[in-house]
Amino acid sequence: MAGLELLSDQGYRVDGRRAGELRKIQARMGVFAQADGSAYIEQGNTKALAVVYGPHEIRGSRARALPDRALVNCQYSSATFSTGERKRRPHGDRKSCEMGLQLRQTFEAAVLTQLHPRSQIDIYVQVLQADGGTYAACVNAATLAVLDAGIPMRDFVCACSAGFVDGTALADLSHVEEAAGGPQLALALLPSSGQIALLEMDARLHEDQLEQVLETAAQAARDVHTLLDRVVRQHVQEASILLGD
């Protein structure tokens, strides 16, 4: 009878987080040996896998090659078992294409593409389990995978979503919170410079509130950065120990 209370009077969200807190993040790099780079990330119950090939020569029509920089090719897919309700999502449906496009925009802004003219970088991302914030998880996974592949980037790209409930901005929305239908914002940030690689919002939000939501998302993205940075350092350390042996 009563709908779900997204934010209690005491300031707790449905899953017990406070407004600005992220879900638990776990990540691993180099999960596949065959690929040039790969990474796996869990943000709460959202799980994503990213694989990177390249830079390599343009596949298919040569006409697509860019004279001054590398072509970034992104493909997104989600596993049929990724959501509570099983749905067959063929490759190339509207949602996947859109997501692919967004990822491509994000990484064209971050990867130093001019270092590899006339070549191609492939980023494949698959969502294994979706529980809100799929775009953010994809970006974060892809960032790790690109780093794993050793492709030079301007900076990490760290993404996080944010929403707005009862006058409070919430960071890193879970599926339940997304489904409630409030405004949502997805932000991909280059944390060191504070530059925005991608900003997307699909509901109307008053500009007075935009600032608050944006800041919440940015802070969350910076928090993600701290974490990813730790993951990368640990990975490098492990790798160097292996090499040292």
């Binding site: 009878m1 009563a2 209370e5 209690s8 009077d9 005491q10 300031g11 707790y12 449905v14 899953d15 017990g16 987080r17 406070r18 807190e21 992220l22 879900r23 638990k24 709460g44 119950n45 509570g84 309700e85 529980d131 009862d166 006058g167 879970s174 339940v176 409630a180 239908g181 409030g182 405004p183 509901a203 109307r204 939000l205 008053h206 500009e207 509130q209 969350a220 928090d223 993600v224 701290t226 974490l227």
Partner: protein, 958 residues
């Protein structure tokens, strides 16, 4: 990011579709006790007092906090709200259960929590690392929650022990569940039932009265035999309803007969819409407005609705045999045709109990603490309550809440909640009528008031964004005298191209009331401002209604403007909407505005503006009437109050001036323009208002009545009706036309709000407009606030929010608004009725001319034009011999002895106040002229003061 916090992650799974949700446990949730070192750095500010010593309990002499379980919160909220109860820990588990089970109680708890004096603390135990419990295999969620509550109670006691060993702060678990209490005590938690605890508060004996008396299941006192059959559990009812064995409907008790009720069956099936229930056993403890499941009885047990008036007057008690005797009197022999589907209640789907107003009928037994309470609403059964203060409560209006109705009890059990004051006292009676019509009228809570702008308030640079500065325009407002909540202001000026620019400026209330906050929720709940005879119950706090939103003269105010460019024939050439800032140049009354228009000497800009408006309004009105808009009439009464005693000293019908209709005309135009705009922009979720055409049968009475006066009223279309009403004139009887219009008003349907995506018929019959909405009174109607928000989004002046574009939410809102408007109307009528009584109480007995509005089988309904007062003249009285009455439905007419009465006949009636029933005082009317021997009363009311009203009458006639 996670900083020093440790998170443990648990997942909950269940249901057919697998739902996996994360559940974080934290170690940074404080216990809420001030002075607790362990929780010093926790987020929440301490709420509970360190030394709660104000309560002295004989059971627990140490300082302590209370920790109630869900059922205590749900049923004993009246006790918890008492100022004596403070320092209570409300667990999240408990709060969530309450939220799911009772929205009103949930709201009351939130209000208590927000009240700093109460020291209520909400402990988020479900996310606390040490108090979270997982559901065990085979454990019901109820048991799991009970266990969670006990774990939290135990944790609290141990936690507080750590805090300081010597001050022995304890947490007492309050539960009425015997098993739960036993388990708690086993686990070392101090636990009491609510009753035990309240009785131990020796300093507050009055609290005992407020205890809900619940016969706990299992230890039902077996005093007396079982009267009623058992209510089936919900699961069985639902099964039965699905299979068609039972029907679900709303239980409506009869006002006249306590042994009879009807059930309105939900759903669309045409037959069996209404089911009759007769006899206590078949009513089976259902109470007015409950949602019940009924089973139809076999056809040979069907009955006809009885026309007997039966009041429950027995004093004591459980005397069922007498009842059965009475029930037999209902079963009079009737023709088979009259029999209606008859049934019995098999179970209750949802109770709709509320606190009831009424009076105590003191028990005859002197020392008795059990008394019966008689609610003011006759549809509610009498309620048995236990109180020690019966003698003080006698003759007072009190509020009582029902707690339950055991199977072996003739009456439901309840408890005393509040004393409103002496019966007949003006304030008490106002309170009663507000409560009985469910008009929310408590002072606004702190949470609501905290959202008001801080004074002194002024318009800032930021507010000017998306807003036009219209302060240079010559805007003025026209309202009734004494109006402090000015919603609307107008202007009219000539443009360079010779056309006219007309602006309607409406208070920008949605600027102050932001979607979803406490202020918004409270306004939405209230739905409308309620105007009583000498009191106004505001929908929004006074700072807004009478100051910041009110478009007073010579101050800058925010407005939402609708601006038209028109030619001199009042044809709209352009329409635009904008948020604006205005500065009204004058707040006029209707009379003042009229005077300016009529005055030949005044030619200032305000007056020219008014004249321009007036001219256009006349053209607009003419066009509207040609389209078939109805001008109906309902007598409206106005009281002249004595300035000191606030007693009504005179009654007068409202006067209407040209300027009234001038303002009205532009409001209608603005509403229509806005309706078009928001429907264009939001075809699925615009909030509109419609007025359905009445079914032809509604008009029968009007047509027949007119026919009896040799007039023809056509009702095929609104236009035909309007035209034939215009032509229905009688030279010898000038008041006839007004009477016809009054009658026509009664034939109309109720206009309602609706969501455009949920309906296809938008037509407004009365206004003859294909689309309509309410935009012009956002200070006093919530619908207008939503319309403002929609329009603001449509013109890009404000942002949208999810609820605004959800049609089911909007439909839900419309339902509440329609209900509130209806209730406000009833409350208003009740207030007029009460003041009419006061008026006639001071006036004594008077005789007045009246016209017959309706004839009934045993009565005449008459209207007294002088007071705009309607009343019923009965011809059947209890202790008098019944006159010969012949009723003819066709004409319609009523023959009393040898005199025939028709609708619209002129009669003379005597009016007096009947106070024989203290709780239900009423105006009694009796016939004076024409004289019928043995029926009519003598004209001469000699010993009464009749000269005074006579002179008054003359004055009025001048």
């Amino acid at each position: 990011m996670l900083k020093s916090r440790t998170f443990l992650k648990k997942t909950r799974a269940g249901g057919v579709m697998k739902i996996v949700r994360e559940h974080y446990l934290r170690d940074d949730i404080g216990c809420g006790a001030s002075g607790c070192a362990a929780c010093g750095s926790a987020h929440e500010g301490p709420v509970l007092e360190p030394q709660p010593l104000d309560r002295v309990s004989s059971l627990c002499p140490q300082p302590h906090y209370l920790l109630p379980d869900t059922n205590v919160l749900l049923h004993q909220i009246d006790v918890l709200e008492d100022p004596a109860i403070r320092n209570v820990i409300v667990l999240q588990t408990v709060l969530q259960e309450v939220r799911n089970r009772s929205a009103p109680v949930y709201k009351r708890i939130r209000d208590a929590t927000n009240n700093q004096e109460k020291h209520f603390y909400t402990f988020t135990n479900e996310h606390h690392r040490e108090t979270y419990v997982e559901q065990l295999q085979g454990e019901t969620s109820n048991d799991r929650n009970d266990r969670a509550i006990r774990v939290a109670a135990k944790w609290y006691n141990e936690h507080l022990k750590k805090m300081s060993a010597e001050n022995q702060l304890r947490v007492i678990f309050i539960t009425n569940d015997r098993k739960n209490k036993e388990k708690a005590i086993e686990e070392g938690i101090p636990a009491f039932t609510c009753e035990e605890y309240v009785k131990s508060l020796t300093a507050n004996p009055e609290l005992i009265d407020r205890l809900a008396c619940l016969s706990e299941e299992g230890n039902e006192i077996d005093s007396g035999k079982i009267i009623f059959s058992e209510h089936l559990p919900l699961s069985k009812l639902q099964q039965g309803i699905k299979s068609g064995a039972y029907l679900q409907g709303t239980f409506r008790a009869s006002r006249e007969n306590y042994l009879e009720a009807t059930v309105w069956v939900h759903g669309d099936t045409e037959d069996n819409k209404e089911i009759i229930l007769q006899g206590l056993k078949n009513l089976n403890r259902a109470i007015h407005e409950d949602i019940v499941a009924v089973e139809l009885l076999p056809k040979n047990q069907w009955v006809a609705p009885s026309s007997v008036v039966l009041l429950d007057e027995g004093q004591n008690e459980d005397d069922m045999e007498k009842e059965e005797e009475r029930e037999c009197t209902l079963k009079t022999a009737v023709s088979e045709k009259m029999l209606k589907p008859t049934g019995r209640v098999v179970g209750i789907i949802r109770r709709n109990w509320r606190p009831y107003c009424g009076m105590l009928s003191k028990s005859d037994i002197k020392e008795s603490r059990r008394h019966l309470f008689t609610p003011a609403d006759k549809r509610i059964p009498r309620i048995r309550i236990e109180t020690r203060q019966a003698s003080t409560l006698e003759g007072q209006r009190i509020i009582v809440a029902i707690d339950g109705w055991p199977r072996n009890s003739r009456y439901p059990n309840g408890h005393f909640v509040k004393n409103l004051g002496e019966v007949g006292d003006k304030e008490t009676e106002t309170e009663v009528l507000l409560l009985e019509h469910d008009v929310p009228h408590q002072p606004f809570s702190q949470a609501v008031l905290s959202l008001l702008p801080k004074m002194p308030w002024s318009i800032t640079e930021k507010d000017m964004k998306n807003r036009e500065d219209l302060r240079h325009l010559c805007v003025c407002s026209v309202d009734p005298p004494g109006c402090t909540d000015i919603d609307d202001a107008l202007h009219c000026r000539e443009l360079e191209n010779g056309n006219l620019e007309v602006g309607v400026h409406i208070a920008d209330v949605s600027y102050f009331i932001r979607p979803g906050n406490a202020l918004d929720q409270e306004s939405a709940r209230r739905g409308t401002t309620v105007y009583l005879c000498e009191k106004r119950i505001d929908m929004v706090p006074e700072l807004l209604s009478s100051n910041l939103c009110s478009l007073r003269s010579n101050v800058d105010r925010l407005a939402f403007s609708c601006i038209w460019e028109m030619n001199h024939n009042a044809e709209i050439l352009k329409t635009r909407f904008t948020k604006s800032v205005i500065n009204s140049k004058a707040s006029l009354t209707y009379a003042e505005a009229q005077m300016r228009i009529d005055s030949s000497t005044m030619n200032d800009s305000i007056t020219t503006s008014l004249r321009g408006l007036n001219k256009l309004a006349k053209i607009l009105k003419k066009g509207r009437i040609e389209n078939g808009a109805l001008t109906l009439s309902s007598p409206e009464v106005r009281f002249h109050m004595d300035s000191e005693t606030h007693d009504p000293i005179d009654l007068q019908t409202k006067e209407l001036r040209e300027t009234n209709s001038m303002v009205e005309e532009f409001m209608l135009l603005a509403n229509i323009s806005v309706a078009k705009k928001i429907h264009e922009e939001f075809s699925e979720h615009a909030l509109l208002r419609k007025h359905p055409a009445p079914p032809p049968s509604n008009y029968e009475i009007l047509v027949k009545a007119a026919k009896s006066k040799n007039l023809e009223i056509k009702t095929d279309t609104a236009k035909a009706l309007a035209d034939s009403l215009d032509q229905a004139d009688s030279l010898t009887f000038p008041y006839l036309n007004t009477l016809l219009r009054i009658l026509a008003t009664r034939c109309m349907m109720q206009a309602v709000y609706f969501c455009s995506g949920m309906d296809t018929d938008f037509h407004h019959y009365g206004l003859a407009s294909p689309i309509y909405t309410h935009f012009t009174s956002p200070i006093r109607r919530y619908a207008d606030i939503i319309v403002h928000r929609l329009l603001a989004v449509a013109v890009g002046a404000d942002c949208t929010y999810p609820e605004l574009t959800e049609k089911h939410k909007l439909a839900e809102l419309c339902k509440n608004l329609n209900f509130r408007h209806k209730m406000a109307q009833y409350a208003q009528r009740a207030s007029v009725a009460f003041h009419t009584q006061l008026f006639f109480k001071s006036k004594g007995i008077v005789s007045e001319e009246a016209y017959i509005l309706f004839v009934r089988k045993n009565a005449l309904v008459v209207l007294i034009p002088k007071y705009g007062l309607e009343g019923t003249v009965f011809f059947e009285e209890k202790d008098k011999p019944k006159p010969r009455l012949t009723y003819d439905d066709e004409i319609p007419s009523l023959k009393i002895e040898d005199t025939v009465f028709h609708i619209f006949d002129k009669v003379k009636v005597k009016i007096m106040l009947d106070s024989s029933n203290l709780q239900h005082q009423k105006i009694r009317m009796s016939l004076v002229e024409p004289q019928i021997p043995g029926i009519s009363v003598p004209t001469d009311t000699s010993n009464m003061d009749i000269s005074e009203p006579e002179t008054k009458k003359k004055k009025l006639q001048k």
